[in-house]
């Protein structure tokens, strides 16, 4: 209430880069991206922190850069989490309507949601998200708000994303070590999908694949709700590693080759072509067979899409995707990757564009910032929800609380 313009910060500690995006809610409740900071990430493997000290340093760089650019002080962040330990599944809650007139009340709805969210998980697992899907009233599917309807039984599905608590704590602790609060942790795949998809695309059914450095996340939307999520601990790092191994070049050189000469498809024209690697003085050091380079990349990327396709097929999610597939993350920069994905998944594939956000245009167009921007967007949703929830009295209390919490 007394905040002139609440800022929302999304922080993603990725395998290849740490990225902080500062967003601002304008008076018209429109999100405006005002700052962006990034740093090369050195302490992360496969989306999880492997060296906390180095990671902390990288996060500090990114945060400081973002603070300078946006000219704000960052106190709290929405933290993106990923890693091969994350799992998503759907859970259903059932609740019988007991009132005499069989009218479904607000309490019934709360109860059924509570039922759906009670999930039997091992103690070391932490539920990151429990996202509500559609309600079912007496078996009738696709109801978004059953309050006031008549029925004897309400059911609701929630999509649960959970992960290993200790591994999640690692990322949180790194951020807390910098005297930053963590507002919430968010699955980065979910964040990317928030940044890329319009409501219409969510309604039509779409698949977002975020090919990051160490992990590949995917999220399926259908009928406006999240149907399926998944993480594959394979990403651009693996492509580089494969190249380093297959072409027998150092990893840094492999990375460079991937960026400069890489492509997701092997064309006939590359047959017999070679690429010359030159050292810093411009002298040729080695030649590398371009076809081999492309073939190694092709096989790895093809496998990623195949694994995703296979998983979606098992989950029965493939048939819902009428809007097609959207790619983001650093991997989306690989030439012709959309074409490869189209071949493997047999549906239209486009490179995702962040939308419905204004601000730094240069930052918004990059596919690798999608998840960080999505984090900010997630933050705005949370903020709005909180604002709605807080009644006047509570609002005042919360404001005072906030005031006193300040150091």
């Amino acid at each position: 209430m007394f905040e002139p313009s609440p800022i929302i910060v999304g922080l993603e500690i990725g395998t290849s880069k740490v990225c902080a995006v500062v967003g601002e809610l304008t008076a018209e409740n429109v999100l405006n991206v005002v700052g962006l900071g990034q740093a090369r990430s050195r302490g992360v493997r496969k989306g999880e922190i492997a060296d906390p000290q180095v990671a902390e340093e990288d996060v500090r760089y990114a945060i400081v850069e973002a603070e300078q650019m946006a000219d704000v002080e960052i106190r709290s962040v929405y933290l993106g989490v990923s890693g091969g330990h994350l799992r998503g599944f759907n859970n259903r809650g059932v609740h019988p309507v007991v009132s005499s007139d069989r009218e479904i009340s607000e309490e019934d709805v709360q109860d059924v949601i509570k039922n759906a969210k009670t999930i039997n998980l091992p103690a070391q697992n932490h539920v990151i998200h429990a996202i509500r899907q559609h309600f079912l009233v007496d078996g009738q599917d696709g109801i978004t708000n059953p309050v006031g309807m008549l029925g004897s039984r309400v059911e609701v599905d929630v999509h649960v994303i959970h992960g290993n608590l200790n591994r999640l704590q690692n990322a949180i602790r790194t951020v807390k070590g910098l005297q930053l609060e963590v507002d919430d942790i968010v699955f980065t795949g979910l964040a990317s999908s928030l940044a890329l998809l319009t409501n219409e695309q969510k309604e039509m059914g779409s698949l977002v694949i975020d090919i990051g450095g160490g992990t590949t996340e995917y999220v399926v939307y259908a009928n406006g709700i999240i149907k399926h999520t998944g993480v594959l601990a394979v990403g651009g790092d693996h492509v580089s590693n494969d190249l380093a191994y297959g072409l027998k070049v150092p990893l840094s050189r492999a990375e460079q080759l991937k960026v400069e000469h890489g492509s997701a498809l092997v064309e006939d024209s590359t047959k017999g072509q070679t690429v010359t690697i030159s050292n810093e003085l411009g002298l040729p050091v080695r030649t590398v067979n371009l076809e081999h380079l492309r073939r190694i990349m092709f096989l790895r990327l093809e496998e990623i899409f195949q694994l995703i396709g296979h998983d979606l097929e098992q989950a029965g999610a493939l048939d819902y995707l009428r809007a097609g597939v959207f790619l983001c993350g650093g991997g989306a920069r690989i030439a012709q990757i959309a074409k490869l994905a189209e071949q493997v998944l047999q549906m239209p594939v486009t490179l995702g564009k962040t939308n419905s956000i204004s601000g730094l245009k240069s930052a918004l167009d990059q596919p690798e910032f999608a998840s960080a921007i999505g984090l900010v967007k997630f933050g705005t949703f949370q903020q709005r929800k909180r604002a709605l929830k807080a009644s006047l009295a509570e609002g005042i209390k919360a404001t005072f609380d906030q005031l006193f919490r300040r150091p």
């Binding site: 493997r45 496969k46 091969g84 790092d237 693996h238 590693n241 297959g246 067979n289 190694i296 496998e303």
Partner: protein
């Protein structure tokens, strides 16, 4: 463990004409057998073999064979397999006589010591000569027992595999995962013994009980023949109408399977279902479907049997095996091989040299040569050390594909495949 104890007590084998004899070799083997005797597997005959007469005296087996040679003076082998081999060779006739008349011979032993490691391969060979089918059930030592015992155990295992029709090997180290911190030593050994005994009973039941879907001994042997280094067993039992699902859940929750991870890595799996007359096909189907999904890469053999005493119950026995993940496995094996080559050169016994040095020749050696090999393994001998280092170098390209930057991170296993290994290598795409 009560799963296996109940059905077999008092039930005679009903497949006609299979005479089964169980040999417990060495103190560890005798201990396992002791447990089987107390369990009351009346359908089998038991024989205990050891070099140590005191240990033998404690056994309650019907038949006791004391392998005596002058060198030992009635004492144990002192952890030296060489002496075990010598004792067994000297008493080969005695062993042969003991094996006579049996169709199937199970050998129980703990590898790594003197008697178990030394006698077992000889016994297996002798038993095969009498025409019986031989299946070994052995344990390998705990890691803490030291490198030397591990190496001896591995050599013994190789020798046993070459001699027997099939070997099921339970690394004791695996049992450490099953027990908590406070388990006493006695209990730990009891558990390993029980597990091994359970495995034996499971196989025995597969072979002898009248079943709907039969498993033949040949299948079992084919499964466990020199394919693997580690086996694991899991048992589960459930009652009531949802028993198939419950039993399956219990099975998958079995600590031995490491949350299904072991299943995904397994190469072969033997599943035995035991139910009452009310066992339905749908239940079998459900269990098998579930299992197949967990071990996509494994060759699965199943059997189902019906037993009146199992009304309203369902017991699943799973024996699966996988390739060894022990880093020593690759490293310690080759030195033995070099030495073998070396011996061949030195003694000029011009047996055909294997075409490639990496083709593992089955150590099908005359016992004297085995003895020599083992002697040569004695630590401190400059030759062996030189060979070791030489061999380690030659082994480098055979090492599994280096995972580069992912070497130290947790592997990404998807359906049993390590995704950190370049795709083109896993798919065998040649870059020419």
């Amino acid at each position: 463990m009560d799963t296996s104890a109940t059905p077999n007590s008092g039930i005679e084998p009903q497949k006609a004409g299979i005479a089964i004899k169980v040999f417990g070799v060495g103190s560890a083997g005798i201990n396992v057998m002791e447990q089987m005797v107390t369990r009351g597997c009346s359908a089998m005959t038991f024989a205990a073999i050891n070099t140590d007469s005191r240990n033998l005296a404690k056994s309650s087996a019907t038949e006791k064979i004391h392998l005596e040679i002058k060198m030992l003076r009635g004492l144990g082998t002192g952890g030296d397999p060489e002496r075990g081999v010598a004792a067994a060779e000297e008493n080969a006739e005695k062993l042969k006589a003991a094996c006579a008349g049996a169709d199937v011979i199970f050998i129980l032993a703990g590898l790594g010591g003197g008697a178990g490691t030394g006698i077992t391969p000889v016994l297996a060979r002798v038993a095969k000569e009498t025409g019986a089918l031989v299946l070994g059930f052995v344990t390998t030592p705990f890691d803490c027992e030291g490198r030397r015992r591990q190496t001896l155990a591995r050599l013994g295992l190789e020798a046993l595999k070459a001699a027997a029709d099939g070997v099921i090997c339970l690394p004791n180290q695996m049992v450490c995962k099953l027990i908590d911190e406070n388990t006493s030593v006695v209990d730990t050994f009891r558990i390993t013994n029980e597990l091994l005994g359970d495995g034996l009973v499971g196989v025995w039941r597969l072979l002898t009980q009248p079943s709907l879907i039969e498993i033949h001994f040949a299948d079992v042997c084919a499964l466990f023949r020199d394919r693997h280094a580690e086996s694991f067993f899991a048992f589960a039992e459930a009652m009531g109408p949802t028993r198939s699902r419950e039993a399956m859940d219990k099975l998958l929750a079995h600590p031995m399977l490491a949350a299904g991870e072991m299943l995904a890595e397994s190469e072969t799996a033997l599943v035995s279902l035991m139910g009452g007359p009310d066992l339905t096909m749908a239940e079998i189907n459900r269990v098998m479907e579930h299992l197949q999904r967990h071990c996509e890469h494994a060759q699965v053999i199943m059997g189902a049997a019906v037993d009146e005493s199992f009304r309203d119950r369902l017991a699943i026995t799973l024996i699966a095996s996988r390739k060894s993940h022990d880093p020593h496995a690759e490293l310690t094996e080759p030195p033995a091989k070099t030495e073998e080559l070396d011996t061949q050169l030195l003694t000029r016994t011009a047996t055909a040299r294997p075409g490639s040095r990496f083709v593992p020749p089955p150590p099908d050696l005359p016992p004297e040569q085995v003895e020599q090999l083992l002697k040569r393994r004695a630590p401190g001998s400059p030759r062996s050390r030189r060979n070791l280092s030489k061999m380690l170098q030659a082994q480098l390209p055979l090492e599994i594909v280096s995972k580069g930057r992912f070497d130290k991170s947790e592997p990404t296993i998807h359906a049993g495949e390590d995704l950190d290994v370049p795709t083109y290598i896993r798919r065998g795409v040649a870059l020419n």
